[in-house]
Protein backbone atom coordinates (compact mmCIF):
# COMPACT_ATOMS: atom_id res chain seq x y z
CA UNK A 1 0.00 0.00 0.00
CA UNK A 2 1.50 3.37 -0.93
CA UNK A 3 1.50 6.34 1.43
CA UNK A 4 -1.34 8.18 -0.33
CA UNK A 5 -3.59 5.18 -0.08
CA UNK A 6 -2.65 4.62 3.56
CA UNK A 7 -3.46 8.25 4.35
CA UNK A 8 -6.72 7.97 2.46
CA UNK A 9 -7.69 4.77 4.26
CA UNK A 10 -6.87 6.33 7.63
CA UNK A 11 -9.01 9.37 6.82
CA UNK A 12 -11.93 7.21 5.65
CA UNK A 13 -11.69 5.19 8.87
CA UNK A 14 -11.65 8.35 10.97
CA UNK A 15 -14.85 9.52 9.25
CA UNK A 16 -16.40 6.13 9.95
CA UNK A 17 -15.28 6.26 13.58
CA UNK A 18 -16.99 9.63 13.97
CA UNK A 19 -20.27 7.82 13.24
CA UNK A 20 -19.45 4.51 14.95
CA UNK A 21 -17.16 5.38 17.88
CA UNK A 22 -16.91 1.73 18.92
CA UNK A 23 -15.12 0.92 15.63
CA UNK A 24 -11.88 -1.07 15.94
CA UNK A 25 -10.09 -0.36 12.64
CA UNK A 26 -7.59 -3.19 13.10
CA UNK A 27 -10.44 -5.70 13.40
CA UNK A 28 -11.99 -4.64 10.07
CA UNK A 29 -11.51 -6.86 7.07
CA UNK A 30 -11.30 -4.36 4.17
CA UNK A 31 -12.60 -6.93 1.71
CA UNK A 32 -15.71 -7.96 3.62
CA UNK A 33 -18.96 -5.98 3.53
CA UNK A 34 -18.51 -3.00 5.82
CA UNK A 35 -22.09 -3.00 7.10
CA UNK A 36 -21.78 -6.62 8.19
CA UNK A 37 -18.85 -5.64 10.36
CA UNK A 38 -19.96 -2.27 11.69
CA UNK A 39 -23.49 -1.61 12.91
CA UNK A 40 -24.61 1.17 10.53
CA UNK A 41 -28.27 1.85 9.86
CA UNK A 42 -29.55 3.70 6.77
CA UNK A 43 -29.13 7.10 8.41
CA UNK A 44 -25.58 6.25 9.59
CA UNK A 45 -24.66 5.08 6.09
CA UNK A 46 -26.05 8.25 4.51
CA UNK A 47 -24.16 10.35 7.05
CA UNK A 48 -20.95 8.44 6.27
CA UNK A 49 -21.36 9.12 2.53
CA UNK A 50 -22.14 12.78 3.27
CA UNK A 51 -18.96 13.04 5.34
CA UNK A 52 -16.92 11.46 2.48
CA UNK A 53 -18.43 13.99 0.10
CA UNK A 54 -17.69 16.91 2.41
CA UNK A 55 -14.17 15.75 3.28
CA UNK A 56 -12.99 14.87 -0.23
CA UNK A 57 -15.34 16.89 -2.45
CA UNK A 58 -16.29 13.68 -4.25
CA UNK A 59 -19.79 13.42 -5.71
CA UNK A 60 -21.47 10.09 -4.93
CA UNK A 61 -24.63 9.63 -7.03
CA UNK A 62 -27.23 7.37 -5.48
CA UNK A 63 -26.83 4.96 -8.40
CA UNK A 64 -23.26 4.29 -7.16
CA UNK A 65 -24.29 3.31 -3.60
CA UNK A 66 -24.47 -0.36 -4.55
CA UNK A 67 -20.78 -0.33 -5.52
CA UNK A 68 -19.70 0.81 -2.06
CA UNK A 69 -19.80 -2.42 -0.10
CA UNK A 70 -16.38 -3.08 1.45
CA UNK A 71 -13.90 -0.60 2.92
CA UNK A 72 -11.67 -1.36 -0.08
CA UNK A 73 -14.50 -0.36 -2.47
CA UNK A 74 -14.96 2.93 -0.65
CA UNK A 75 -11.24 3.76 -0.71
CA UNK A 76 -10.97 2.73 -4.40
CA UNK A 77 -14.00 4.86 -5.26
CA UNK A 78 -12.72 7.98 -3.52
CA UNK A 79 -9.15 7.50 -4.77
CA UNK A 80 -10.30 7.21 -8.39
CA UNK A 81 -12.09 10.55 -8.12
CA UNK A 82 -9.46 12.52 -6.21
CA UNK A 83 -6.82 14.80 -7.70
CA UNK A 84 -3.50 12.87 -7.58
CA UNK A 85 -2.09 14.70 -4.53
CA UNK A 86 -5.29 15.33 -2.60
CA UNK A 87 -5.54 12.22 -0.42
CA UNK A 88 -6.41 13.30 3.09
CA UNK A 89 -6.71 16.95 2.07
CA UNK A 90 -9.86 18.76 3.07
CA UNK A 91 -12.35 19.61 0.37
CA UNK A 92 -13.12 23.18 -0.55
CA UNK A 93 -15.71 24.80 1.67
CA UNK A 94 -19.19 23.96 0.56
CA UNK A 95 -18.03 21.16 -1.75
Amino acid sequence: MNTDRQTLTTTVLSLLAAIAPELEPEALNPERPLRQQVDLDSMDWLNFLVSLHQRFGVDIPESDYARLVCLKDVVDYVQARLPADAAGAPAQAGA
Binding site: L40, D41, S42, M43, L46, I60, S63
Partner: protein, 379 residues
Protein backbone atom coordinates in the same frame (compact mmCIF):
# COMPACT_ATOMS: atom_id res chain seq x y z
CA UNK B 1 -48.60 30.92 41.30
CA UNK B 2 -48.09 28.00 38.94
CA UNK B 3 -46.33 24.78 39.94
CA UNK B 4 -43.77 23.56 37.42
CA UNK B 5 -43.64 19.80 37.91
CA UNK B 6 -41.23 17.15 36.69
CA UNK B 7 -43.04 15.81 33.62
CA UNK B 8 -43.17 12.14 32.67
CA UNK B 9 -40.80 11.72 29.77
CA UNK B 10 -42.12 8.30 28.82
CA UNK B 11 -43.77 5.26 30.37
CA UNK B 12 -40.40 3.97 31.49
CA UNK B 13 -39.61 7.00 33.65
CA UNK B 14 -40.53 7.09 37.34
CA UNK B 15 -37.98 9.59 38.58
CA UNK B 16 -35.34 11.96 37.30
CA UNK B 17 -32.21 13.72 38.55
CA UNK B 18 -32.05 17.47 38.06
CA UNK B 19 -28.71 18.19 36.40
CA UNK B 20 -28.95 21.91 35.79
CA UNK B 21 -31.21 24.93 35.87
CA UNK B 22 -31.02 27.22 32.83
CA UNK B 23 -33.01 29.91 34.65
CA UNK B 24 -32.95 31.70 38.02
CA UNK B 25 -35.67 33.35 40.11
CA UNK B 26 -36.88 36.53 38.42
CA UNK B 27 -36.21 35.33 34.88
CA UNK B 28 -39.03 35.79 32.38
CA UNK B 29 -39.78 32.54 30.54
CA UNK B 30 -41.81 31.71 27.44
CA UNK B 31 -43.91 28.63 26.80
CA UNK B 32 -41.69 25.98 25.17
CA UNK B 33 -38.44 27.41 26.57
CA UNK B 34 -35.89 24.92 27.91
CA UNK B 35 -35.49 25.75 31.59
CA UNK B 36 -33.73 22.69 33.03
CA UNK B 37 -31.81 19.53 32.17
CA UNK B 38 -33.03 16.33 33.79
CA UNK B 39 -31.25 12.98 33.68
CA UNK B 40 -33.54 10.01 33.10
CA UNK B 41 -32.44 6.40 32.93
CA UNK B 42 -32.13 6.81 29.15
CA UNK B 43 -30.64 10.23 28.55
CA UNK B 44 -30.19 13.78 29.75
CA UNK B 45 -33.29 15.62 28.50
CA UNK B 46 -33.86 19.35 27.99
CA UNK B 47 -37.06 20.09 29.90
CA UNK B 48 -39.37 22.76 28.52
CA UNK B 49 -41.82 24.88 30.51
CA UNK B 50 -45.46 25.04 29.35
CA UNK B 51 -46.50 28.48 30.64
CA UNK B 52 -45.36 32.02 30.06
CA UNK B 53 -44.35 33.76 33.28
CA UNK B 54 -41.61 34.72 35.69
CA UNK B 55 -39.63 32.10 37.61
CA UNK B 56 -40.38 32.52 41.32
CA UNK B 57 -38.63 29.86 43.39
CA UNK B 58 -36.44 26.91 42.40
CA UNK B 59 -37.41 24.14 44.82
CA UNK B 60 -35.17 21.31 43.59
CA UNK B 61 -31.41 21.64 43.42
CA UNK B 62 -28.97 20.13 40.89
CA UNK B 63 -28.12 16.60 42.00
CA UNK B 64 -31.54 15.94 43.58
CA UNK B 65 -33.36 12.81 42.38
CA UNK B 66 -37.13 13.25 42.55
CA UNK B 67 -40.22 11.31 41.39
CA UNK B 68 -42.26 12.33 38.32
CA UNK B 69 -44.82 14.97 39.35
CA UNK B 70 -42.60 16.65 41.96
CA UNK B 71 -42.86 20.44 41.92
CA UNK B 72 -39.47 21.60 40.63
CA UNK B 73 -40.17 25.31 40.76
CA UNK B 74 -42.92 27.87 41.08
CA UNK B 75 -43.79 30.35 38.40
CA UNK B 76 -45.67 33.64 38.53
CA UNK B 77 -48.25 33.89 35.79
CA UNK B 78 -48.08 37.03 33.63
CA UNK B 79 -49.62 39.91 35.58
CA UNK B 80 -49.38 38.10 38.92
CA UNK B 81 -47.81 40.21 41.67
CA UNK B 82 -44.68 38.99 43.31
CA UNK B 83 -45.09 37.82 46.90
CA UNK B 84 -43.45 39.98 49.57
CA UNK B 85 -39.80 39.18 50.18
CA UNK B 86 -39.37 36.31 52.60
CA UNK B 87 -36.85 38.01 54.80
CA UNK B 88 -35.69 41.46 55.68
CA UNK B 89 -32.37 42.33 54.09
CA UNK B 90 -29.43 42.71 56.38
CA UNK B 91 -26.62 45.15 55.80
CA UNK B 92 -23.62 43.79 53.89
CA UNK B 93 -20.12 45.13 54.46
CA UNK B 94 -18.40 46.45 51.31
CA UNK B 95 -15.60 43.86 51.51
CA UNK B 96 -18.18 41.08 51.90
CA UNK B 97 -20.15 42.36 48.93
CA UNK B 98 -16.99 42.45 46.79
CA UNK B 99 -15.99 38.91 47.82
CA UNK B 100 -19.55 37.68 47.19
CA UNK B 101 -19.40 39.07 43.67
CA UNK B 102 -16.08 37.26 43.06
CA UNK B 103 -17.55 33.98 44.29
CA UNK B 104 -20.88 34.35 42.47
CA UNK B 105 -22.89 34.39 45.71
CA UNK B 106 -25.98 36.50 46.42
CA UNK B 107 -25.00 38.30 49.68
CA UNK B 108 -28.64 39.08 50.50
CA UNK B 109 -29.28 35.37 50.81
CA UNK B 110 -26.52 34.81 53.40
CA UNK B 111 -27.19 34.77 57.16
CA UNK B 112 -25.27 37.58 58.81
CA UNK B 113 -23.39 37.09 62.10
CA UNK B 114 -22.07 40.63 62.42
CA UNK B 115 -23.56 43.58 64.30
CA UNK B 116 -27.35 43.79 63.82
CA UNK B 117 -27.20 40.72 61.63
CA UNK B 118 -24.88 42.30 59.07
CA UNK B 119 -23.17 40.01 56.57
CA UNK B 120 -19.41 39.88 57.04
CA UNK B 121 -16.55 38.67 54.88
CA UNK B 122 -16.36 35.52 57.03
CA UNK B 123 -20.09 34.87 56.43
CA UNK B 124 -19.50 35.02 52.68
CA UNK B 125 -16.51 32.66 52.87
CA UNK B 126 -18.57 30.23 54.97
CA UNK B 127 -21.47 30.40 52.52
CA UNK B 128 -19.08 29.64 49.65
CA UNK B 129 -17.77 26.55 51.45
CA UNK B 130 -21.32 25.38 52.11
CA UNK B 131 -22.41 25.70 48.47
CA UNK B 132 -23.40 22.45 46.84
CA UNK B 133 -20.92 20.85 44.48
CA UNK B 134 -21.22 21.77 40.79
CA UNK B 135 -23.92 20.01 38.77
CA UNK B 136 -23.24 16.28 38.77
CA UNK B 137 -22.10 14.69 35.55
CA UNK B 138 -24.66 12.56 33.75
CA UNK B 139 -24.60 8.88 34.63
CA UNK B 140 -21.57 6.94 33.33
CA UNK B 141 -22.10 4.93 30.15
CA UNK B 142 -22.05 1.47 31.78
CA UNK B 143 -24.50 2.56 34.47
CA UNK B 144 -26.66 4.16 31.80
CA UNK B 145 -26.82 0.83 29.93
CA UNK B 146 -27.93 -1.00 33.06
CA UNK B 147 -30.48 1.67 33.95
CA UNK B 148 -31.81 1.79 30.40
CA UNK B 149 -32.29 -1.98 30.26
CA UNK B 150 -34.17 -1.82 33.56
CA UNK B 151 -36.37 1.05 32.31
CA UNK B 152 -37.16 -0.69 29.02
CA UNK B 153 -37.93 -3.91 30.87
CA UNK B 154 -40.28 -2.09 33.26
CA UNK B 155 -42.16 -0.28 30.48
CA UNK B 156 -42.44 -3.33 28.25
CA UNK B 157 -43.53 -5.57 31.15
CA UNK B 158 -46.22 -3.04 32.00
CA UNK B 159 -47.27 -2.97 28.35
CA UNK B 160 -47.55 -6.75 28.09
CA UNK B 161 -49.34 -6.92 31.46
CA UNK B 162 -51.90 -4.18 30.77
CA UNK B 163 -52.38 -4.03 27.01
CA UNK B 164 -54.15 -6.88 25.20
CA UNK B 165 -52.06 -6.79 22.04
CA UNK B 166 -53.16 -8.10 18.67
CA UNK B 167 -50.90 -8.35 15.64
CA UNK B 168 -51.40 -8.04 11.88
CA UNK B 169 -49.02 -8.14 8.95
CA UNK B 170 -49.19 -7.08 5.33
CA UNK B 171 -46.66 -7.37 2.50
CA UNK B 172 -46.56 -4.12 0.54
CA UNK B 173 -45.11 -3.76 -2.97
CA UNK B 174 -42.59 -0.93 -2.99
CA UNK B 175 -41.82 -0.68 -6.70
CA UNK B 176 -43.64 2.62 -7.23
CA UNK B 177 -42.22 4.15 -4.05
CA UNK B 178 -38.67 2.99 -4.84
CA UNK B 179 -38.77 4.31 -8.41
CA UNK B 180 -40.25 7.63 -7.24
CA UNK B 181 -37.53 7.95 -4.60
CA UNK B 182 -34.75 7.18 -7.09
CA UNK B 183 -36.09 9.82 -9.46
CA UNK B 184 -36.49 12.30 -6.64
CA UNK B 185 -32.92 11.77 -5.39
CA UNK B 186 -31.33 11.69 -8.82
CA UNK B 187 -29.34 14.84 -9.38
CA UNK B 188 -29.92 16.11 -5.83
CA UNK B 189 -26.85 16.88 -3.71
CA UNK B 190 -26.23 14.03 -1.26
CA UNK B 191 -27.12 16.32 1.64
CA UNK B 192 -30.68 16.71 0.31
CA UNK B 193 -31.46 13.09 -0.56
CA UNK B 194 -34.36 11.34 1.09
CA UNK B 195 -34.46 7.94 2.78
CA UNK B 196 -37.36 5.48 2.28
CA UNK B 197 -38.15 5.84 6.00
CA UNK B 198 -39.61 9.28 5.30
CA UNK B 199 -42.14 7.90 2.81
CA UNK B 200 -43.10 5.16 5.27
CA UNK B 201 -43.62 7.63 8.12
CA UNK B 202 -45.70 9.94 5.95
CA UNK B 203 -47.85 7.05 4.73
CA UNK B 204 -48.47 5.92 8.32
CA UNK B 205 -49.60 9.42 9.32
CA UNK B 206 -51.99 9.70 6.38
CA UNK B 207 -53.37 6.18 6.82
CA UNK B 208 -54.22 7.01 10.43
CA UNK B 209 -56.80 9.55 9.24
CA UNK B 210 -58.96 6.56 8.39
CA UNK B 211 -58.40 4.75 11.69
CA UNK B 212 -57.99 7.43 14.36
CA UNK B 213 -58.47 4.82 17.11
CA UNK B 214 -54.84 3.78 16.59
CA UNK B 215 -53.45 7.25 17.30
CA UNK B 216 -53.58 8.66 20.84
CA UNK B 217 -53.41 7.68 24.49
CA UNK B 218 -55.22 5.20 26.73
CA UNK B 219 -55.33 6.66 30.23
CA UNK B 220 -57.51 6.04 33.27
CA UNK B 221 -59.66 3.55 31.43
CA UNK B 222 -60.40 5.81 28.47
CA UNK B 223 -58.96 6.35 25.02
CA UNK B 224 -58.26 9.86 23.89
CA UNK B 225 -57.59 10.17 20.16
CA UNK B 226 -55.06 12.70 18.93
CA UNK B 227 -55.66 14.67 15.74
CA UNK B 228 -51.98 15.36 14.96
CA UNK B 229 -49.80 12.32 14.44
CA UNK B 230 -46.66 12.66 16.54
CA UNK B 231 -44.74 9.58 15.40
CA UNK B 232 -42.39 8.16 18.02
CA UNK B 233 -39.47 7.08 15.86
CA UNK B 234 -37.64 4.10 17.37
CA UNK B 235 -33.92 4.95 17.28
CA UNK B 236 -31.38 2.39 18.40
CA UNK B 237 -28.52 3.78 20.44
CA UNK B 238 -24.91 2.75 19.98
CA UNK B 239 -23.98 0.25 22.64
CA UNK B 240 -27.58 -0.90 23.11
CA UNK B 241 -30.96 0.41 24.10
CA UNK B 242 -33.33 2.62 22.21
CA UNK B 243 -35.41 5.76 22.45
CA UNK B 244 -38.52 6.68 20.48
CA UNK B 245 -38.83 10.49 20.45
CA UNK B 246 -41.58 12.29 18.55
CA UNK B 247 -41.35 13.54 15.01
CA UNK B 248 -44.11 16.11 15.41
CA UNK B 249 -47.20 16.42 13.22
CA UNK B 250 -45.95 14.13 10.46
CA UNK B 251 -49.14 14.38 8.39
CA UNK B 252 -48.86 18.14 8.12
CA UNK B 253 -45.29 18.41 6.86
CA UNK B 254 -43.75 18.10 3.40
CA UNK B 255 -41.36 15.19 2.84
CA UNK B 256 -38.17 17.24 2.59
CA UNK B 257 -38.93 18.89 5.93
CA UNK B 258 -39.60 15.47 7.49
CA UNK B 259 -36.25 14.21 6.18
CA UNK B 260 -34.39 17.15 7.74
CA UNK B 261 -36.23 16.75 11.03
CA UNK B 262 -35.67 12.98 11.09
CA UNK B 263 -31.93 13.39 10.49
CA UNK B 264 -31.78 15.98 13.27
CA UNK B 265 -33.81 13.79 15.65
CA UNK B 266 -31.57 10.76 15.10
CA UNK B 267 -28.46 12.88 15.58
CA UNK B 268 -29.76 14.45 18.80
CA UNK B 269 -31.08 11.14 20.15
CA UNK B 270 -27.61 9.66 19.80
CA UNK B 271 -25.92 12.76 21.20
CA UNK B 272 -28.29 12.72 24.20
CA UNK B 273 -29.91 16.12 23.59
CA UNK B 274 -33.62 15.46 23.25
CA UNK B 275 -36.35 17.80 24.46
CA UNK B 276 -39.02 16.85 26.98
CA UNK B 277 -41.87 17.38 24.48
CA UNK B 278 -40.21 14.89 22.13
CA UNK B 279 -40.16 12.29 24.89
CA UNK B 280 -43.74 12.78 26.12
CA UNK B 281 -45.66 13.58 22.91
CA UNK B 282 -45.57 10.46 20.68
CA UNK B 283 -49.11 9.33 19.84
CA UNK B 284 -47.97 6.15 18.04
CA UNK B 285 -44.59 4.45 17.59
CA UNK B 286 -43.06 3.57 14.22
CA UNK B 287 -40.12 1.19 14.13
CA UNK B 288 -38.26 0.73 10.89
CA UNK B 289 -35.60 -1.98 10.76
CA UNK B 290 -34.02 -0.42 7.67
CA UNK B 291 -32.08 -2.07 4.90
CA UNK B 292 -29.92 -4.20 7.22
CA UNK B 293 -32.84 -5.48 9.25
CA UNK B 294 -34.94 -8.62 9.45
CA UNK B 295 -38.02 -9.27 7.35
CA UNK B 296 -40.61 -8.21 9.91
CA UNK B 297 -40.94 -6.83 13.43
CA UNK B 298 -43.86 -7.39 15.82
CA UNK B 299 -43.56 -4.61 18.34
CA UNK B 300 -44.54 -4.07 21.95
CA UNK B 301 -46.77 -1.01 22.38
CA UNK B 302 -45.30 1.86 24.39
CA UNK B 303 -47.92 2.91 26.97
CA UNK B 304 -50.03 5.02 27.06
CA UNK B 305 -49.99 4.72 23.26
CA UNK B 306 -52.27 2.12 21.68
CA UNK B 307 -50.43 1.03 18.55
CA UNK B 308 -47.03 0.40 17.04
CA UNK B 309 -46.30 0.11 13.31
CA UNK B 310 -43.26 -1.90 12.23
CA UNK B 311 -41.44 -2.11 8.91
CA UNK B 312 -38.95 -4.81 8.00
CA UNK B 313 -36.26 -4.37 5.36
CA UNK B 314 -37.24 -3.40 1.82
CA UNK B 315 -35.91 -6.24 -0.34
CA UNK B 316 -36.53 -7.65 -3.82
CA UNK B 317 -38.79 -10.68 -3.35
CA UNK B 318 -41.12 -12.75 -5.54
CA UNK B 319 -44.50 -11.03 -6.00
CA UNK B 320 -47.51 -12.08 -8.06
CA UNK B 321 -48.86 -9.29 -10.23
CA UNK B 322 -51.28 -9.63 -13.16
CA UNK B 323 -51.04 -13.42 -12.89
CA UNK B 324 -47.25 -13.50 -13.16
CA UNK B 325 -44.51 -13.94 -10.62
CA UNK B 326 -42.21 -10.94 -10.66
CA UNK B 327 -39.18 -9.87 -8.67
CA UNK B 328 -40.20 -6.64 -6.93
CA UNK B 329 -39.06 -4.67 -3.89
CA UNK B 330 -41.52 -5.29 -1.06
CA UNK B 331 -41.73 -4.48 2.63
CA UNK B 332 -43.54 -6.31 5.42
CA UNK B 333 -45.57 -3.83 7.45
CA UNK B 334 -46.92 -4.97 10.81
CA UNK B 335 -49.31 -3.51 13.32
CA UNK B 336 -49.37 -4.22 17.04
CA UNK B 337 -52.51 -2.64 18.47
CA UNK B 338 -54.49 -2.42 21.70
CA UNK B 339 -57.66 -4.55 21.80
CA UNK B 340 -59.17 -2.25 24.46
CA UNK B 341 -59.45 0.42 21.76
CA UNK B 342 -59.59 -1.28 18.35
CA UNK B 343 -60.00 -4.69 16.79
CA UNK B 344 -58.40 -6.66 13.99
CA UNK B 345 -60.87 -5.51 11.35
CA UNK B 346 -60.03 -1.85 11.91
CA UNK B 347 -56.34 -2.65 12.17
CA UNK B 348 -56.53 -4.44 8.81
CA UNK B 349 -58.20 -1.38 7.25
CA UNK B 350 -55.23 0.66 8.43
CA UNK B 351 -52.72 -1.68 6.80
CA UNK B 352 -54.72 -1.75 3.55
CA UNK B 353 -54.82 2.05 3.49
CA UNK B 354 -51.07 2.12 4.18
CA UNK B 355 -50.48 -0.25 1.27
CA UNK B 356 -52.59 1.84 -1.09
CA UNK B 357 -50.91 5.10 -0.09
CA UNK B 358 -47.47 3.64 -0.79
CA UNK B 359 -48.58 2.84 -4.36
CA UNK B 360 -49.03 6.58 -4.95
CA UNK B 361 -45.80 8.20 -3.75
CA UNK B 362 -46.44 11.36 -5.75
CA UNK B 363 -49.65 11.89 -3.80
CA UNK B 364 -47.73 11.33 -0.54
CA UNK B 365 -45.31 14.05 -1.58
CA UNK B 366 -48.15 16.48 -2.21
CA UNK B 367 -50.30 15.62 0.78
CA UNK B 368 -49.86 17.83 3.75
CA UNK B 369 -52.41 19.76 5.73
CA UNK B 370 -52.20 22.73 8.02
CA UNK B 371 -50.84 21.86 11.49
CA UNK B 372 -53.72 20.79 13.72
CA UNK B 373 -52.14 21.29 17.07
CA UNK B 374 -48.96 22.60 18.60
CA UNK B 375 -46.31 20.09 19.61
CA UNK B 376 -46.16 19.68 23.35
CA UNK B 377 -49.83 20.45 23.84
CA UNK B 378 -50.57 16.92 24.94
CA UNK B 379 -50.52 16.44 28.68
Amino acid sequence: MIDFKLPSLGADMEEGTLLQWHVKPGDTVKRGQVVAVVDTSKAAVDVEIWHDGVMAELLVQPGDKVPVGTVLATLQAPGETAPPPAAVRHPVSPSARRRARELGIDPDGVNGTGAQGSVTLADIEAAARAQPAPAPAPVALADRQTEMRKAIAAAMSRSKREIPHYYLAETIPMQAATVWLQQHNEGLPITERMLPAVLLLKAVALALRRTPELNGFHRDGHFQASVPVHAGVAISLRGGGLVAPALHDVGAKPLDQLMRELADLVKRARAGSLRSSEMSDPTITVTNLGDQGAEAVFGVIYPPQVALVGFGSILVRPWVQDGEVRALPTVRATLAADHRVSDGHRGALFLVELRELLQRPQALAQAFTAPQDKPGASP
